[in-house]
């Protein structure tokens, strides 16, 4: 009897999980479906769901009008570069906060997080002027620096949380065996925190990939990533929803595929230390 109740509860939970999952995924699914419709079908009322004449025309138009590959390469370099650079800076920072904390560590962590509380537009002009002076406007290097700085507090916080789960005694043992600081971090700490580091990298890569304020405001023709590619298909005077959906699908496809293949690592990392 108890087993039957458990199974029933499991079934209900599964059903709820699927329903919530589908609800969250539905806008993306709708975007993908719309990308295969004609513009007239895209705005039809009542909306058509699956039974329409599927067409690849929107993809052909988008491909013809825009240099998708250039936007994609920019996205990979900007998101990848900022994540790698941020992680390289954050690992030693999180190590020191987790294993050799000072009485100000908590305050520093809070201060770092507080930099995320200011609306981005509030510092647009100072950053823009700084970029003009440094010649970084519309450069991929400039975007890597900006996105790295924006995401650094989150990377440090996440790594700090993961590192706190690792017993300090293990690092102490390594030191007693003669490991210097570099070897301690590289060969002892990092391998033990791989799930946490991997999920931090993945999450920040996704955040950097989707960042749309700075990437739209600090780039023009050369360093524009896929967020600018999507924005170029949004029009207040004209119904181009099918083309906009095709552009959006092309922009999110790489990150969806990456997320799909790394979901185990991602979930493992995000739940790391959650259950004792």
């Amino acid at each position: 009897m108890a087993c039957a109740v458990t199974n029933q509860r499991k079934a209900v939970n599964t059903l709820i999980a699927w329903a919530v999952g589908l609800l969250i995924f539905f806008p993306i699914l709708w975007t993908i479906l719309t990308s295969f419709k004609t513009e007239a079908q895209a705005i039809s009322d009542p909306p058509v769901f699956l039974f329409f004449d599927w067409t690849l025309e929107n993809y052909a138009v988008v491909q013809e009008r825009s240099d998708y590959l250039r936007y994609l390469i920019n996205s990979v370099i900007i998101a990848g570069g900022s994540t790698i650079l941020g992680t390289l800076i954050a690992i030693p920072a999180a190590w020191s906060m987790a294993f050799v904390p000072s009485k100000r560590t908590k305050d520093i962590l809070l201060w770092m997080l507080s930099t995320k509380m200011l609306p981005a537009v509030g510092v647009l002009y100072p950053i823009y002027l700084l970029f003009i002076q440094l010649g970084l406007l519309d450069s991929r290097f400039g975007m890597v620096i900006v996105l790295m700085l924006i995401n650094l507090p989150i990377i440090v916080w996440m790594l700090y949380t993961y590192f706190r789960e690792i017993p300090g005694e293990i690092l102490e043992a390594a030191r007693m065996d003669g490991a210097n600081l570099r070897n301690e971090i590289l060969y002892v700490l990092t391998p033990m925190a791989v799930p946490g580091i991997a999920s931090t990298i993945l999450l920040n890569f996704i955040l950097a990939w989707n960042e749309a304020f700075w990437t739209l405001n600090l780039t023009a023709a050369q360093a524009a990533p896929l967020t600018a590619f999507i924005a170029s298909y949004s029009s207040p005077e004209g119904l181009f929803y099918a083309k906009l959906s095709a552009a959006s699908t092309m922009a999110i496809a790489p990150i969806l595929i990456l997320g799909w293949f790394s979901q185990k690592q991602l979930v493992r990392g995000l739940t790391f230390g959650a259950v004792k």
Partner: protein, 433 residues
Amino acid sequence: MKLTPILIGACSAMAISFAAQAQTLTIATVNNGDMIRMQGYTDQFTAETGIAVEWVTLEENVLRQRVTTDISTNGGQFDIMTIGMYETPIWGANGWLVPLDDLSEEYDAADILPAMAGGLSHDGTLYAAPFYGESSMIMYRTDLMEQAGLEMPDAPTWDFIKQAAAAMTDRDADINGICLRGKAGWGEGGAFITAMSNSFGARWFDENWRPQFDTEEWANTLNFFVEMMTESGPPGYATNGFNENLSLFQQGKCGMWIDATVAASFVTNPADSTVADSVGFALAPDNGLGKRANWLWAWALAIPAGTDDVDGAKQFIEWATSKDYIEMVAENEGWANVPPGARISLYENPDYQAVPFAEMTLESILTADPNNPTVDPVPYVGVQFAAIPEFAGIATQVSQEFSAVYAGQQSVEEALAKAQAIATEEMEAAGYM
């Protein structure tokens, strides 16, 4: 250390920037049909001049923020910017734009429609060349009008429109007599209600820059709009803008739609519109006070003062806004697809006169006067806006208050009182009063 070569490679890739071509223009533009079409012909320009072109296409509001940031900081990111009638006189006065007073004789600047040239100038100097211009007019279903037993005059009054809207409304068949913009935003619902208020004798500011929302004319405007839309408009019209109404009209759910003349080519295109063969056009309504409810707008090409290639930029502007460009588009895509509303010669062309909406578009443009937009005198230029830097901020807030009325969240009196307070505070803070 397998990571080392990867990191070195990544850092190198980041440091590498694209080497600029011998002469490349970077142009910021909006994602509107005519602009996208122009991008398709860019190779032609490059072949003729040897100048390459890089496009930065953005949504209108994003573009506005992007180019404003760049030009106000002298960022120099763009050689040409697509801007409208609102920005041009303000930026021209600030010295942010290169004057276009030395365009070639072959270009024939005198052929630009006077209303457009006037709205894109400051102190008589042209600062942006119109790529396409638009006004607003009535687009209506000829079949529904006939069924209602009415005949649309070429120049109807608001009373007729209200009466016709009620007669055409059929809630059971999901047909709304009239579809109008109610969406918040100075360029959305704000633009429509401002143009409408002109025909009711209202104005934004008096000659001393005092806001006028506490006047009877504004109360009449808003009350009339709300009454008519409640009776004959679509449900949820408070969130409808251009695209939402275009979608409704194309699906046969609107009897009438008063909006940008550029929409005429969309609603008469059988590929997208289910009512393409039964659309008629008329001038925007009036109230017998001498001003109609139509606006005037142009998307124009301007050269920011920060560019280092003024000559190349002027060459492109002359090419894109020339008579030859219009003829090239007509030859390849038909006269209905040429950029409208910019040149006198286009409307003298018999081929273009055969396009069903050409005449009404021209008449609408000609009846809008940005230098004399209202019944009573005003100190500002602009039909559906006042060309002062503070207007966008004030009008956005005011239109939000109006949209709250459309959504049934407050009364007309409350909204107008708030609008008066908002505008007064901002104008005082800016030193106008």
